[in-house]
């Protein structure tokens, strides 16, 4: 369980799915993003900053980086989720208003990358998803953007796929590694 930090425990709001869908359908442009580094090497992070600066300039689409997950529609999740960041990552995603969107960036975000099997990481977003479920945090839509580091063009494409403006380049298919 995630502690509420001294706040009174509110009953979880009953979500009307129709309201959620309607909200989601309206979310087409001017999305606000929060950049969540879960122990990444900085490679994806500097590419995220790159798309915000003049050469790629996503602010022309109204995409804006914000300082708090409470203001964000979308989380840009980079890194393989190290064990020391788990608690903070869960709290950050929990703080987002619904609908919660996640763009899992880079090989690490997609499946742990080169760190998929070390003792100090969870191994990317798919494993974090299980922990989020246990903590009762629902995420409404996830798009995976691979690459090491992820290319700036791919980040923009991924955001467009998430909003339903473009079609994904490949279908999502999960392969579970067989442990020896």
């Amino acid at each position: 369980m995630v502690s509420n930090g001294g706040r009174p425990n509110l009953e979880p709001l009953e979500f009307n799915l129709n309201v959620l869908e309607e909200a989601f359908s309206k979310l087409k442009r001017s999305i606000w993003v929060f950049h969540l580094n879960t122990g990444s090497c900085n490679g994806c992070d500097i590419e995220v900053l790159d798309v915000l600066t003049p050469y790629f300039d996503v602010e022309r689409f109204g995409i804006k980086l914000v300082g708090s997950p409470r203001h964000a529609d979308l989380i840009l999740l980079t890194g393989p989720v190290t064990i020391k960041t788990i608690s903070k990552v869960v709290r950050a995603i929990k703080a987002m208003p619904r609908p919660r969107l996640v763009l899992a960036l880079g090989s690490c975000g997609v499946g742990g990358g080169i760190w998929f099997n070390t003792y100090a990481t969870l191994g990317g977003y798919p494993n974090l998803e299980k922990i989020l479920k246990e903590a009762g945090v629902e995420v409404d839509k996830v798009v995976y953007v691979p690459g090491c580091p992820v290319r700036p063009e791919a980040i923009i494409y991924g955001a467009a796929v998430l909003l339903g403006l473009l079609q994904p380049k490949s279908k999502h298919r999960r392969v579970t590694a067989v442990e020896s």
Binding site: C41, G43, T82, K84, K88, A95, A120, P149
Partner: protein, 570 residues
């Protein structure tokens, strides 16, 4: 085994590389001749095998030498081979380019005397050796540094007898509440926004403030510990450079180069000249992009976003250049043990020249404007002062040291790759404030452009990698590279198929320990820039925990917000 004095003096005479290493070795070893287990030299590295009980005595004699710096320390579990754990302390004599390695065998149950009061930089190394390998130290407080607080006792991940799968069975990561995370009781009672990770990297500083002034600071970090060194032990020699490059996404190539240099040093591999040139060119391209990135971020933290955007606009040209040279914008992946993977074609050279000329022109224009903005100058001048003496005591590296008047540069002091062919200056400023560190980096951009121009003029022909090389077990190799942030040093102990032990030391590891000194007495608004001025790998926007001592209020805010806000007393 013990040596008599004459025998010892003869050996030191034979092994030393010059007057400085002779003087330092004589001073250190004259008091320890009964505890000396062996003395040898390979290349620029002198290896001293010494019993644990005499290490401190030996170092007490030499810690005041002006050109002796603590470079790194590696703990290695060699119980399966020699029945004990070993510590390798690496010191460097800057004026001579000599490494002195103190090899200390530690038998079970023996405590090693701390040297963290002699060489203050060694503080974290000792904590890390305690966390990961289970070495005990005398005369200092030990706490968890790298691993989480709920990590099981007596489980040391870097010991050879625990496998990755076993560790994963023994430790299940959990979502913990805020109380146990911070270890402070009152924190719970104060409603704070959800404490979430940094915008760019999850690291924390706790700043203790009285009114506007920072009175103390504490670093709470190691959020990005990913178990790299354990992972490398299951990899082959040529797989590790790819792993090394992913240590840091901003300056990854310095890590892979440092690793391959360490292996080449250990096994005595001859690298073709052309490979040395290509490595140097790519290293300088990386420095260009990193310094431009830092400059942009520093201006952003000052609230001068125009400068931020322009710096990143100019930087994009470097990224395109990197892609042209290596096929990748970042994480180039061209390093191999014994050479490089990708050649630089002749027809690329005019394009490199054109880009560099453009870059020089645009950067000059930009810097002239940015550094003459009065607000920028006022915020940079006289803030975050790091005196030369402190920089020396902490063995600081890179632009942080050079901004405090220490002319340390691995490219000059322990020259590697093709740097001895080129002519370049090492910019040094003595003020030790944020402006000095900024100017060092600006000068270095121009130097780097000139270095690349000289290198492509002189690029020799020939092969780009060594034909063949033979791995041998249990050799020690040291490789160091001047990264954009300072000295990167890797220590490798070899095995038949891959490294037996690989110790990575990034420049921030050394420099971060000095940040609390810089922060003491600065205005809160200048704290973010001061932290960023060492160019830590979490430079862009971090989160700080602010505790106001008078009222006991605790707030968490992104660093950029602090820097733009006026704080009222109480």
């Amino acid at each position: 085994m013990s040596y008599d004095l004459n025998e010892l003096n003869e050996m030191i005479e034979e092994l030393s590389r010059g007057p400085r290493s002779h003087a330092i070795l004589s001073k250190a070893l004259s008091v320890c001749k009964d505890s000396l287990l062996g003395l040898s030299r390979s290349g620029v590295t002198i290896r001293v095998k010494i019993k644990a009980n005499c290490l401190r005595t030996a170092l007490e004699n030499i810690y005041k030498e002006h050109d002796l710096y603590f470079r790194t320390m590696s703990a290695s579990d060699e119980r399966l081979r020699e029945g004990l754990i070993k510590l390798y302390y690496v010191f460097g004599i800057d004026s001579e380019g000599t490494n002195i390695v103190f090899e200390v065998p530690v038998t079970d149950g023996v405590k090693v005397d701390t040297i963290s009061d002699l060489f203050r930089a060694s503080d974290w190394y000792e904590l890390e050796a305690h966390d990961l390998v289970g070495v005990e130290f005398n005369g200092r407080a030990l706490r968890r540094l790298v691993l989480p607080d709920d990590w099981p006792e007596e489980l040391y991940p870097l010991r050879k007898d625990v496998s990755m799968d076993e560790i994963k069975k023994l430790y299940q990561p959990q979502v913990v509440s805020r109380i146990s995370e911070l270890g402070v009781e009152e924190v719970v009672r104060i409603p704070v926004g959800p404490y979430h990770p940094a915008l760019h990297e999850p690291e924390y500083f706790e700043l203790y403030v009285r009114g506007e002034k920072v009175v103390d600071a504490r670093y709470v970090g190691f959020m990005v510990h990913r178990g790299i060194e354990k992972l490398a032990e299951s990899m082959k020699y040529d797989q590790v450079p790819f792993l090394a490059e992913r240590i840091c996404g901003i300056c990854g190539f310095v890590h892979s180069t440092s690793y391959v240099q360490a292996v080449e040093d250990a096994l005595g591999i001859e690298v073709p000249e052309r490979a040395h040139f290509i490595r140097s060119i790519v290293l300088e391209v990386e420095r260009l992009h990193s310094h431009l990135l830092w400059l942009g971020v520093a201006l952003h933290l000052l609230g001068y976003d125009t400068g931020f955007m322009h710096a990143w606009r100019i930087r994009e040209k470097v990224m395109v250049l990197a892609e042209l040279l290596t096929g990748s914008r970042k994480t180039y992946g061209i390093d191999l043990v014994g050479g490089v993977k990708k050649d630089i074609d002749k027809d690329k050279i005019p394009k490199i020249r054109e880009t560099l000329n453009q870059l020089k022109k645009e950067f000059k224009e930009f810097v002239d404007v940015a550094t003459s903005v009065p607000q920028v100058r006022a915020r940079l001048t006289g803030t975050g002062i790091l005196p030369r003496g402190e920089a020396r005591a902490y063995s600081l590296v890179g632009p942080t040291a050079r901004g405090s008047g220490l002319a340390r540069d691995v490219r000059k002091d322990y020259t590697y790759a093709a740097y001895h062919y080129v002519n370049f200056k090492v910019p040094v400023y003595t003020e030790g404030d944020n402006l000095a560190r900024t100017l060092v980096r600006i000068d270095e951009v121009f130097e780097s452009i000139s270095i690349i121009e000289q290198l492509i003029d002189m690029l020799p022909s020939g092969p780009i990698k060594a034909e063949r090389w033979e791995p041998q077990p249990m050799r020690l190799g040291i490789g160091s590279v001047e990264a954009p942030r300072g000295e990167v040093i890797h220590v490798v102990i070899t095995d038949l198929y891959g490294p037996y032990r690989w110790r990575v030391r990034a420049p921030t590891y050394q420099n971060l320990q000095a940040v609390p000194i810089m922060l003491k007495g600065v205005d809160l608004a200048d704290a973010p820039l001061t932290i960023a001025s060492i160019d830590p790998c979490f430079s862009c926007t971090d989160r700080a925990l602010i505790i106001n001592l008078k009222s006991g209020n605790i707030k968490t805010l992104p660093l950029e917000v602090i820097s733009r806000r006026r704080w009222k007393d109480g």
